[in-house]
């Protein structure tokens, strides 16, 4: 294995998914980035699809809290596939808007994203339409351009320490292709609802456990579960007092069209009030 490839793979696996507020890898909750905070993260997924080569897909994430009701994000995607290549696969620009000012039983968030990626992208930040195992076994093809708009309706509730989040996703390739649909649902909670009085890293309050399920819902002409793939993935998270967050999630394919097993990992670091700090310097 070449040195850049090795470095990329190690980085991808060791520094995987960053989102100080998010409990999940695919599902979004209504938690927004605190205004003025900048979060850096890396989300990675590794899998060995049946009939294909082992790959590590990664997304470097830069998230900024513009307002308490508006979070903006940039993703830079790349991947390494064994016996093939290590490639940059594109970028995504995203904004999330929280329309309601108060907490409710169900809290909606509107999500808009523009993607400029290519056919080699394997970051798998969501499963859409008729995505399936076949997409993961094709050889890296950077020639296929995908300029897509993605909309999500995020709904999320917090109750007695639990978070329950549901996402409905619609995506359109701007190259005259039909709308595709997908979903993600997740639930989770910290291991302890009370904080301990002493500083600690590995105490129960810093760990969270949960699970998410996500998959495709076909497209405009064939909406439904036929020829789609679905996954179930437990998630464990650790929020270190230093500001680092770690997440790990084994994913299991739920039908014949899904990839059997994948492993997601992630790490994030939050720079608090970065705009004020820069102004002072």
């Amino acid at each position: 294995m070449r040195v850049p490839t090795l470095v990329f793979s190690l980085l991808a696996l060791l520094v995987p998914a960053l989102h100080a507020q998010e409990n999940y890898f695919v599902t979004y909750s209504h938690q927004m980035e605190e205004p003025g905070n900048l979060e850096l993260g890396l989300k990675s997924i590794s899998a060995r699809p049946k009939g294909g080569n082992t790959f590590v897909g990664s997304a470097l994430e830069v998230e900024y809290g513009v307002k308490a009701w508006w979070t903006a994000e940039l993703y830079l995607d790349g991947q390494h596939t064994a016996n093939e290549s290590t490639v940059f696969t594109g970028y995504r620009l995203e904004s999330r808007f929280r329309p309601l000012q108060r907490e409710h039983w169900i809290n909606p968030v509107l999500y808009v994203e523009f993607e400029n990626i290519n056919g080699a992208d394997k970051s798998l930040l969501e499963i859409m339409g008729h995505d399936g195992n076949g997409d993961l076994t094709r050889r890296n093809d950077r020639g296929e351009k995908k300029r897509e708009v993605e909309l999500k309706l995020i709904t999320s509730s917090n109750f007695k320490g639990w978070n329950l989040s549901e996402n409905l996703i619609a995506e359109k390739n701007l190259k005259n292709e039909p709308w595709e649909f997908g979903y993600a649902v997740g639930f989770g909670r910290p291991l302890s609802l009370k904080a301990s009085a002493k500083p600690c890293t590995f105490c129960r309050e810093n760990f969270s456990l949960g699970a998410e399920m996500y998959g495709g819902l076909g497209d405009r002409y064939s909406f439904g579960l036929h020829d789609t793939s679905h996954y179930f993935a437990p998630v464990i998270g650790l929020r270190a007092p230093s500001g680092m967050n770690f997440k790990l999630s084994p994913g299991f394919g739920l039908n014949g069209n899904s990839n059997g097993f994948s492993l997601r990992a992630g790490v994030t670091y939050e720079f608090e009030q970065i705009a004020s700090k820069l102004r002072r310097h």
Binding site: G161, L193, S196
Partner: protein, 125 residues
């Protein structure tokens, strides 16, 4: 002075008054009565102020200062508004935030931790 200029000045004055009111605790007006009257279940917990202080350093100090003294546009928490607010009002503010004024919702923290934070806030003089 034209009517348009007068209207613009009135709007500007209203905006300034609104901003002043918000830092002065206008959020208190929005707290439902039922929430306002909720007692702090952590009052008897001797560890709650310490746990609250730890949570404050993790989640609040970046904006409000290490001792809650305020930073830039983020308000000083050693104020009459915080001192006089009922525990239920403070917990409501932590849960809901004041989104349009820049205070995020802390509903992602379990309710128990929000009460621990309230217990700590009440120790600020």
């Amino acid at each position: 002075m034209s009517a348009r200029s007068i209207a613009a000045m009135c709007m500007l004055a209203s905006a300034i008054l609104l901003m002043a009111a918000s830092s002065d605790g206008s959020w208190l007006m929005r707290v439902p009565e039922k929430e306002r009257l909720r007692p702090n279940p952590m009052t008897a917990d001797v560890e709650a102020p310490l746990a609250g202080a730890k949570l404050f350093q993790q989640h609040c100090a970046a904006c409000h200062g290490a001792n809650g003294e305020g930073k830039g546009k983020h308000p000083d928490l050693h104020s009459d508004v915080v001192r006089d607010a009922r525990p239920g009002e403070l917990e409501w503010l932590l849960e809901n935030g004041s989104i349009r004024r820049g205070m995020p919702s802390w509903s992602r923290l379990p309710e128990e931790q929000r009460w621990q934070l309230v217990t700590y806030l009440k120790t600020l003089k």
